[in-house]
Symmetry: D2
Subunit: 351 residues, 4 copies
C-alpha cells in the first residue's frame, strides 16, 4: 500500500511536534509537509526546532530535512493535521478544506458547528456522515473533522460505556490538568511550581458542552444531543503531562459496582478495526487505590489509552471514579491522528 501524504499545520508548536513524532514510522502515513507561521517558514524543520524540540533527544530524521512552509493550501499532501492555535486555525483550515484537502483538526474553532464531526472514533465514528452535509453547505471539495478538547476526550471515553449500558443523567468532574495542555510557553514557571491554579480559560465551558455533541445521535438532520447535566471545575497542577479527572456520575439505570467495572473493561468498540493508533482496550481499569497516576499511567498504550481507577459509590450521585489520560497524545496529537486513520479506513482519503 502506498502511504498517504500528510501535512502538519502548526508543526512547531507542542502539539505539532507530538504529531511529527507520532508520524515517524507510521504504517499508513508519510509526513510530507510541515507548515507553520511566517517566522519559521523557509528553514529546515530540524534547524527551526534546534532549541525548541521537546519530544526527546532528536527531531526524527525524516522530518528534520523538510523545509517549513507557510500555512497556505498548496502543500503536497492529501490530508492536513492541524495543530494550529485557535487564534488563526479557523480561516486557515477553511482555506485548506475549500482547496480540496481533508483537514483533521485539533483546534476548537469548528468543533461545535452542526455539520462538522467532533470525533472520538471509539464513540461516534458514524458522525462522519456529517461530512456530506458539510460539503453541501460549503461547496468545499475537501472537508474538516475535529477532535474534542483534551480533558473532554478522557471524560467521554470513560463515560461512553456507562452511557451505552446504563444511561447517564448527571456528571460532575473536577480536573487536575497538566502544564503541557497550555501549549508553549504556556504557564509561567513561577506561577506553576509548587502551586495550583484553579482556573483554565474556557475549559469548563468546553467540558460542559462538547460531550453532548459527542454522545449525541447523528442523523441526516444533524446531531441530537442527549439530556445530561454536566458541571466541571478545572484546575492546573504542576504536572508536565497527564490530565487527572475526578468524576461523579448519576446513571439512568441501577448498576452494581461490578457491572460498572465490567462495562469499562469490555469497552472495545474498535477491536479488529486495525487503526494503527487505536489502543485496545481504550480503557484500562486499575485495581490499586493508588492509580491512575500521571507518572505511571500517562503512557499506557503509547499514550492512547485512558486509565481508570477507584470506582466507588458516591453519596450524592451514584458512582465516582478517577480517569487519566495523556493530554498531549490521547488528548491532542494522537486524537487528530486517530481521526485521520479513521478517515483513511473509511475511504474518505481516496481520490
Amino acid at each position: 500500500m502506498e502511504k498517504t501524504k500528510i501535512g502538519v499545520l502548526g508543526a512547531t508548536g507542542m502539539v505539532g511536534q507530538a504529531i511529527v513524532q507520532l508520524l515517524s514510522g507510521h504504517p499508513w502515513f508519510e509526513l510530507s509537509e510541515v507548515a507553520a507561521s511566517e517566522r519559521s517558514a523557509g528553514q529546515r524543520y530540524g534547524e527551526a526546532m534546534a532549541s525548541r524540540w521537546s519530544m526527546g533527544p532528536e527531531v526524527p530524521d525524516a522530518a528534520a530535512g523538510l523545509t517549513v512552509k507557510e500555512c497556505t493550501p498548496d502543500l503536497d499532501c492529501d490530508l492536513v493535521l492541524s495543530a494550529l492555535d485557535s487564534s488563526v486555525a479557523g480561516g486557515i483550515e477553511e482555506r485548506f478544506a475549500k482547496a480540496g484537502y481533508a483537514v483533521s483538526s485539533n483546534a476548537r474553532n469548528h468543533r461545535m458547528e452542526p455539520d462538522v464531526p467532533l470525533l472520538i472514533p471509539e464513540i461516534n465514528s458514524e458522525h462522519l456522515q456529517l461530512i456530506g452535509a458539510q460539503r453541501k453547505r460549503t461547496g468545499w471539495k475537501g472537508f474538516i473533522v475535529t477532535d474534542p478538547n483534551c480533558s473532554t476526550i478522557a471524560m467521554c471515553l470513560a463515560l461512553a460505556p456507562l452511557a451505552e449500558r446504563f444511561g447517564i443523567e448527571k456528571v460532575m468532574v473536577t480536573t487536575m490538568q497538566a502544564l503541557s495542555g497550555a501549549g508553549y510557553p504556556g504557564v509561567a514557571s513561577t506561577d506553576a511550581l509548587d502551586n495550583v491554579i484553579p482556573f483554565i480559560s474556557g475549559e469548563e465551558e468546553k467540558m460542559q458542552s462538547e460531550p453532548l455533541k459527542i454522545l449525541g445521535k447523528v442523523s441526516p438532520a444533524g446531531v441530537k444531543e442527549p439530556r445530561i447535566e454536566i458541571s466541571a471545575q478545572c484546575n492546573r497542577v504542576p504536572v508536565r503531562n497527564g490530565h487527572t479527572e475526578c468524576i461523579s456520575v448519576k446513571l439512568s439505570k441501577a448498576a452494581s459496582e461490578k457491572e460498572v467495572i465490567k462495562a469499562f473493561r469490555e469497552f472495545r468498540p474498535l477491536k479488529g478495526n486495525g487503526l494503527p493508533s487505536a489502543p485496545d482496550p481504550p480503557l484500562v481499569y486499575l485495581d490499586s487505590d493508588l492509580r491512575p497516576q500521571p507518572r505511571l499511567d500517562a503512557w499506557s498504550y503509547r499514550g492512547m489509552a485512558v486509565s481508570i481507577g477507584r470506582l466507588r459509590r458516591c453519596s450524592v450521585l451514584d458512582y465516582k471514579f478517577v480517569a487519566l489520560s495523556n493530554n498531549l497524545i490521547r488528548g491532542a496529537a494522537g486524537a487528530a491522528l486517530l481521526n485521520a486513520e479513521l478517515l483513511k479506513s473509511r475511504g474518505y482519503l481516496d481520490h
Copy 2:
C-alpha cells in the same frame, strides 16, 4: 496577666514544629515543655532539631533550650497541645486528661467520641459543654478537645455561613492536598514530583463524617447531626503547603450569587472575642478568577484564614467554588492553638 504554661506532645514532628513556632511570642501562652518519643528525649530541643527543623532558618530561642521530655503526664504545664501521630495519640492523651491536664489535640483518635468536642471556634464553640459529660463519664480531672482533619476544617469554615443562612443539603468536594499534610517524611519525593496521587488513606471518610458532628446542634444529650449528604474525592498534588478544595453545594433555600458572596464576607463570628490566633475575617472572598492559589493565599492572615474564590452556578447542584487553607496552620497547628485560646478565654484553664 501571667502566661499559661503549655506543653507540646509530638514536638519534633512537622505539626509539632509548627506549634512551637506559633507559640514563639504568644501573648497568652508560654511554651514550657516539649515532649516526643523516647528517641529524642533527653536532648535539648535545639539539638534534637538541628537537621530536622523545617519552619525557617532557626528554632526559636525559647524553645531551643528546653529539654525534650517523654510523653508522660508529669510535665510542668496546664495544657498540652498534642501533635502526636494517631498510632500513639489515643492512650497518651487519655493519660494526660486523667492526670488533670487540658488536652487540645490535633490527632484523629478521639474526634468522633460523642462527648469529645470537635471544635472550630468560629462554628461550634458551644460544643465545649460536652466537656462536662466527658468528665462525668471518665472521671478525669482534665479533659480532651480535638480539632478536625485539615481538609475538613477548610471546607466547614466555607460551608458554615451557607449552612447558617440558607441551609445545606448536599456537598461534593474534590481536594488537591499539599504534601506537608502527610507529615514527615510523608510522601516519597519520587512519588510526589510531577505527579498526582488520587488517594489519601482515610481522608474521604473523615471529610464525609466530621462535618456532620461539627455542624451539629449540641445539647446535654450530645450532638445531633444535620442531614447533609457529603461526597469527597481526595488527591495529593505536588504543593508543599496549602490544600485546595473544589466544592459544590446544594442549598435548602434559594440564594443569589450576590447573597452567597455576602454570606462569606459577613461571616465574622469571633469578631471582638480577642482570641490572639483568630483571623478576622476567617473567610477571604477573592474576586479574581485565578484565586485562591496556594502560593499566594496559604499565608493569608498568618495562615489562619480560608481563602475562597470563583463562586458560580453549578448545573448539577446549586453553587460551586474553590476554597483554600494552610493545612499546616489553619488545618493543624493553628487549629489546636486556637482551640486552646478558646479554652482559656472561657475559663477552662482556670484552677
Copy 3:
C-alpha cells in the same frame, strides 16, 4: 524626620513588585510614584496588579491607590529605584539622572561604566565617590548607582571577608539559580518542571566580570580591578526563590578551616550604621551539612542575609563551600533599596 519620596520604575514586574512590598512601612522612605510601560499607565496600581501581584495575598494599601505613571522624568520623588528591563533601562535611567533624580538601578545597563558605582554597601561603599566623576563627565544634576547581578551579589558577599583577610586568587562557582531570577513570565513551566537548564544567557559573563569591579580599589582615577581568575557555570533549577552557589576558592595566604569560618562570622562591616535594610550579620554560617537550602534559608534576615555552609578543603583549589541568597530580595529589590539607604545616610539625597 520627613520621609524621602521614592518612585519605582518598572513597578509592575517581579522585582518592581518586590520593591513596592519592601517599601511598605519603610522607616525612611515613602513610595510616592509607581511607573511602568504605557500599557499599564493611567490605571490604579491596585487594579493594574489585580491578577499579577505575586508577593502575597494583597498589594499594600499605600501602593494600591497610586496611579501608574509612564517612565518619564516628571515624577514627584527624589530618588527612583529602577527595576526596568535592560532592553529599556539604559535610556530611561539616563533621562532621570539628567533631570536631577538620584537613580538606584537594578538593571545591568550601566553597571560596568567606569564612573558608575556598582555597589554592595557591605563591601565598597567608598565607590560612591565615583558619583563626582560621573557628574563631571555627564553634566547631570542627578546620578546613577547600580547593584550587581543577583548571583554576583551572593558570591561577592561570601568572598569579601576572605579577600580582606587572606586574599583571593582563583574562584570557581557553579550556580543553581531560581526561576524568579528570570523575571515574569520568564522560564516556561514545561521547561522548568522536573528539569535543569544548564545555561542562563549572559550570566556567566556577569559573574566573571562584575566581582572585579566590586572588589576593586577606588580612587579619583577610577576603580582598579584586582587580579582574580573567576570561572562560572550557571544553571536554572526548579526552585522558585533562592540561588544556591557551589564555590571553590584559592587564597593568597594559608588559612585554617577555623579561620575561614571565623572570617565569615565576623564580617559585620555595616554594624551600627543603622541602614534599615542591612542585615546584621550579612553572612550566616550554618553548621549543618544539609544547609543552606533555599526552602529554609532564603528568607534569613528578611531575605537580606547570605547563608553559607559546608566549608571544607578543596583538593584542586583551597576551600569549597555553599552560599545561598534570596535572589529577589538580596539579589535585586533589597539590593537596590539598600543602595538607596546608603545614599540617604551619606547625604546624597539632600538638596
Copy 4:
C-alpha cells in the same frame, strides 16, 4: 543460542525494578529468579509489586509470575545482578560468589577492593583480569564485579576520551543529582520540592576516589591509579531522573576546543562488540547551549548514553562542560547489566 539465566537480588527496590524492566525481552539473558528481603519472599513478584512498581503501567509478564525468593545462594541462575542496599549487600554477594555464582553488583561494598573489577566496559574492560587474583585470594568458584557510583559513571565516561588523548591533571565537578538516585522512599517530598539540598552522604568521596581506580592501569599486581586531583560538590535537585554535572578539567596537553569535541564524538570503544545494552556512541555531544537537559536527554540511547554540551574555556582550569546521564539506567541498572553482558561476551559465564 540458549539464554543465560539471571537472578536479581534486591528486585523490589528502585534499581532492582529497573533491572527487571531492562531484562524484559533481552536477547541474551532470561530473568529466572527475583530475590529480596524476607518480607517480600514467597509472594508472586507481580503481587509484591502491585502498589510499588514504578517503571510504567505494568510489571513485565515474565517477571510478574516469578515467586520472590530470599537472597540465599540456591537460586536457579548463572549470574546474579545485585541491586541490594549496601547495608546488606556485602555479605550476601560474597556468599553467592563463594557458591559459584557470577555476581554483577551495583552496591558500593566491594568496589574499592583491590582485586574486584570496578567496571565501565567502554573504559576498562581489561580490569576483568583481576577476577583471577580475586579467585586465588578467596578460593571462590564464582566472583564479583562491580559498577561505579551513578555520578562517577557519567563523569568517567566524559573524561575517558580526554584522558586518553590529552591526559587529565585536575577535575572539578559540581553535580545536580536526581531524586531517584536516593532509592525508595529516599528523599522526603517536603524536603525535595522547590528546593536544593547541598549534600549527599558519601557521594563526594566516591566521586573523588572511584575514578582513580576506573582510569587506572591494570596488571597482575593490581590497578595503578593515575595522579589526578578531583574535587566534587554534590547536590540533590528536584528532578526525578537524570544527574547533571558541571565539570572543569585541566589537561596535560594543550588541545583546541575542536579537538576536545572531536575526542568526545570519536569515542566509540565498544563499536562492533555487539553488547546489546552498549550505546553507540556512548557520548552524545550536543551543539545547543541549552543542552543537555534531564527532560530531553536522560533517555538518550535508551538511557545508556551520556549527553555532553557547552564545552568552553575555563579561566581557572582548561575546559568546562556539562554532562548528563540517566542515573537509574546508565548509572545503576543498565551499568550492572552491561557488565554482565561484558562477562558473557568474554566467556566468564561459560561452564
